[in-house]
């Protein structure tokens, strides 16, 4: 796809418009909106972690509306079957009275999929999403079908209720581009939320772009230049999450069981490119790397027993790594 200078210059404006429109329906959570948009424009999936009622479903719905994308929601439960997610072949009778198999697409066949409380489904059902998330294809009955583009999975999980849940395995976590922590809104934000949602005077968000527009923005985002030194910094940062690495600082050696996969590095670079453009810059800066490092690596960094016992979080460890890592 040929990229026009004009389109590059408009990138920041468009994203700003998206943020503005989404912000009409979502009070607060500006960073979450921004980071979700980064993930969408980088072509990644997002795992949202937060207590229920923080507006996750509303966020996804709004994004779907603003981006003019098809939206579907899957509420994951222990009895949810893989076919309930990806779809199945059903027997249908045609006009001539002959029976034949016809594929009934599941909810994954949508531009934006909200996998609500993904950790409540069995690993078998969770893994049904793997192919969709990674390959953007679904294989049912030996037939592989492409998912609509742009495709984006936004999964949520509740950090409190762990009983009866199936924590996502590392391999599946690694397939999420970002893991975002949705925080409880401030008092002021809560006032606004209450005022917005209880008066029936909700503002309507405007559509800013469409699927093709998103694909074009993705193509632009992939071209953002990054200096060798900046890329080196990002890769050293990823290496520093590995306790056996020579780049690993003391905190990694002490608290980390194992570090990020190469997907983490890919996620950082891709996200940093989008973030740079969103900042109105045509190159990636160190601060872009630092900004995206937390959502890109926090679910790829696994603490050891000592780290967990001392109450350290991946974000703490990442902060120390970043502080010690020279540019």
């Amino acid at each position: 796809m040929e990229i026009r200078e004009e389109a590059i210059k408009l990138f920041a404006e468009k994203v700003e418009a998206m943020e503005r429109e989404i912000g009409r329906k979502i009070i607060g959570q500006k960073e979450i909106i921004r980071q979700v948009l980064i993930a969408i424009l980088a072509g990644g999936n997002v795992l949202l972690e937060g207590v229920p009622g923080l507006g996750k479903t509303r966020l996804v719905r709004t994004i779907g509306h603003v981006l003019d994308l098809e939206f579907s929601r899957i509420q994951f439960t222990p009895d949810l079957m893989p076919a309930d997610v990806v779809g199945t072949n059903i027997v249908v009778r045609d006009e001539a009275g002959n029976s034949r198999f016809q594929f009934q697409p599941g909810p994954v066949f949508s531009n934006i999929v909200l996998a609500d409380e993904i950790n409540r489904a069995t690993p078998k059902t969770q893994s049904a999403l793997l192919e969709a998330m990674q390959e953007h294809t679904v294989t049912v009955g030996g037939v592989t079908r492409r998912l609509p583009q742009p495709y984006f999975v936004l999964a949520t999980q509740n950090p409190l209720e762990q009983e009866g849940t199936y924590p996502l395995p590392e391999a599946q976590l690694d397939r999420f581009f970002f893991k975002l922590i949705v925080k409880f809104p401030s008092l002021e934000e809560l006032h606004e939320i209450v005022n917005l949602t209880t008066t029936g005077e909700e503002e309507m968000a405007q559509k800013v772009t469409d699927g093709a527009g998103i694909l074009e923005l993705r193509a632009i985002g992939r071209q953002v230049p990054i200096a060798r030194g900046v890329q080196d910094y990002a890769l050293r940062l990823v290496m520093a999450t590995h306790p056996e690495s020579e780049h690993a600082p003391e905190v990694t050696k002490k608290y980390v069981r194992y570090g990020s996969s190469p997907r983490g590095a890919q996620a950082i670079i891709s996200a940093a490119r989008i973030r740079a453009l969103m900042e109105g810059r045509y190159n990636v800066a160190f601060k872009d790397i630092r900004y995206v490092a937390y959502p890109a690596l926090r679910h790829r960094l696994f603490l050891n027993f000592e780290g967990i016992a001392e109450g350290r979080t991946p974000d703490d460890v990442l902060q120390e790594i970043i502080e010690e890592l020279p540019e």
Binding site: K9, V224, P225, A227, R281, Y282, A285
Partner: protein, 554 residues
């Protein structure tokens, strides 16, 4: 080929680049200064354990070199474009410049937009925001090093005394060498007693000595070198005198009247020579055979003509003239051959003649070196090669008062210990501590020479007595003209005889026939000692003479 954007980018980077180069230069200069101070401190610390000459000069030179090198390095090691880009980016340009630099040559939309954006940012960038200053840590380092250096210089350095002595030693060596080179070589060139080859050999020896002395590291080495040169010179002089004796013997043996003396001289038969001379003296006394005397006069005169200039030649000519004069006046003086006898005996005894006081100069040099090193030359002599005459040295070093120019040579026919012939050089150089004047050099007499070949040199003394303001003057009959021609008085013993006197004039200087006794004391003493050995004098009388001279020294 560079695109317009690249050119613009370079242009925009220009002032910043210059600023950064200047910054780099200042930084390197500051580092160089710190390195210079550091090396100075290292020098200083080492100087407390190892003597370092010209410490401050070396510190300054090394420091200067380091500083200049650092500046050159700072100028040569200009920051690369990448370094410049990173430096600017760190001032808030968010990696725009380094990215733009890496995108150089690319012409895709992103590359163009990115570089345009960078150029716009650079235009609003003030190069002066890049501070050219020396960091606080550098100032602290400079302050600490300077403080340490000041403290180091204030602490007394135990090596300073040694260095001071060594410098004095080098200065002394240089001064002495200068004197030796200027004086000895010039005098040698004029010396008639030496052949050209001998002069050349002596000059070579002195040049070798000069080289060795300049390379010598301490006074012991220097004194050793001087002593070795003395030995070589002695050997040289001895060979020269032996040749002279052989030549003389050869000449005299051609004449009937002196044939026997010539043979004895060739054989170096001292006793035979003495007997022959006694025989000739007896012939000349009383009613001497005129024909025989004429033959003797002719032999002496003709042989003298064949000899090189010197005392021997003069003595022979004097004797020949005296005989000639005696024949005319029919009154040949009884002591007509005394001078010749002295010279021949001296030659026969193999006593070393010191042409132009070279040996004295070397002795003087050794004395000066030892004094500079704060050492007693007598102790050095006894601890060293064993070639120094101990008694001689002891006699001369008793006092702080030092002769200003003692220079007479004493030569002895034999040592009192019967270990061979000895030679004493009188000397005394230095300043008198007495307010009333300066002492003069002291003669010495070798009585116990040891060392190679049984030869020994008297060492240098420091002079006699500090309380003597000026020595009593005595008449010196041998030196009517100091520096002028030698005088000769011939005549007949007895009141009635005719006498003839040749006035040689005053010569150079203000010599009036009277000299301070200390100037001739050494010579007198050595002659007295010589005669004590030669003549048949009772032992108790010998002791009396010796005591007399000893009392004069006290």
């Amino acid at each position: 080929m560079k695109s317009i954007i690249d050119v613009e980018l370079n242009k925009a980077l220009g002032p910043i680049r210059r600023r950064l180069i200047l910054k780099s230069l200042v930084q390197m200069a500051a580092l160089g200064f710190i390195a210079a101070l550091f090396q100075a401190l290292i020098w200083l610390i080492i100087s407390f354990f190892v003597p370092i000459f010209n410490l401050e000069l070396k510190m300054a030179a090394a420091g200067g070199i380091i500083f200049v090198l650092a500046c050159i390095l700072g100028f040569a090691m200009k920051p690369s474009i990448s370094q410049i880009a990173r430096e600017i980016d760190s001032k808030g340009l968010e990696e725009r410049v380094i990215t733009a630099v890496e995108l150089a040559g690319r012409n895709d939309p992103f590359a163009r937009l990115q570089r345009q954006d960078t150029i716009e940012e650079l235009k609003s960038f003030n190069p002066r925001s890049i501070a050219i200053n020396i960091s606080k840590s550098m100032w602290i380092t400079v302050g600490s090093l300077t403080f340490a250096l000041i403290i180091g210089f204030l602490i007394p350095n135990p090596q300073e005394e040694f260095i001071h002595k060594q410098l004095q030693f080098e200065k002394t060596i240089e001064e002495q060498l200068q004197k030796l080179e200027e004086k000895a070589e010039k005098e040698l060139a004029k010396s008639a007693e030496l052949t050209e080859e001998e002069r050349q050999q002596i000059q070579n020896l002195l040049r070798e000595l000069a080289q060795e002395l300049r390379e010598s590291k301490d006074y012991r080495e220097a004194i050793k070198e001087v002593t070795e040169t003395e030995e070589k010179l002695m050997e040289l002089f001895r060979r020269a005198q032996e040749a002279k004796l052989a030549q003389l013997g050869e000449g005299l043996s051609k004449y009937q009247v002196t044939q026997s003396l010539g043979e004895k001289l060739k054989k170096m038969d001292k006793q035979g020579i003495a007997e022959e001379l006694r025989r000739l003296k007896e012939l000349a006394q009383g009613d001497a055979d005129k024909q025989l005397m004429e033959a003797l006069q002719k032999a002496l005169e003709e042989v003298a003509q064949q000899l090189p200039e010197g005392d021997l030649k003069s003595s022979m000519l004097e004797a020949a003239n005296a005989i000639s004069a005696g024949l005319v006046s029919n009154n040949i003086p009884s002591n007509v051959l005394d001078g010749l006898e002295g010279q021949l005996m001296q030659l026969a005894e193999n006593a070393i003649d010191d042409p132009e006081n070279i040996m004295y100069m070397l002795q003087n040099m050794k004395n000066q070196i030892a004094q500079t090193a704060g050492q007693d030359i007598s102790k050095l002599a006894s601890a060293g090669t064993g070639q120094q005459n101990q008694q001689n040295l002891q006699n001369q070093s008793g006092s702080q008062s030092q002769g200003s120019h003692g220079s007479s040579n004493g030569q002895s026919a034999s040592g009192s210990s019967n270990q061979g012939s000895g030679m004493g050089n009188s000397s005394g150089v230095g300043n008198s501590s007495s307010p009333s004047g300066s002492g003069t050099g002291e003669n010495s007499f070798s009585t116990d020479s040891q060392g190679i070949g049984g030869q020994g040199f008297g060492g240098q003394g420091a002079g006699i007595g500090s309380s003597h303001g000026e020595y009593e003057k005595i008449y010196d009959p041998k030196r009517l003209g100091d520096g002028g021609e030698s005088s000769q008085v011939s005549g007949k013993a007895g009141e009635e005889g005719n006498s003839e006197q040749v006035d040689a004039g005053r010569g150079l200087g203000s010599f009036d026939g009277f000299v301070p006794y200390n100037e001739v004391f050494g010579e007198y003493k050595s002659q007295a000692m010589l005669n004590l050995d030669r003549m048949d004098i009772p032992q108790n009388m010998r002791e009396l003479v010796k005591k007399y001279f000893s009392s004069l020294e006290d």
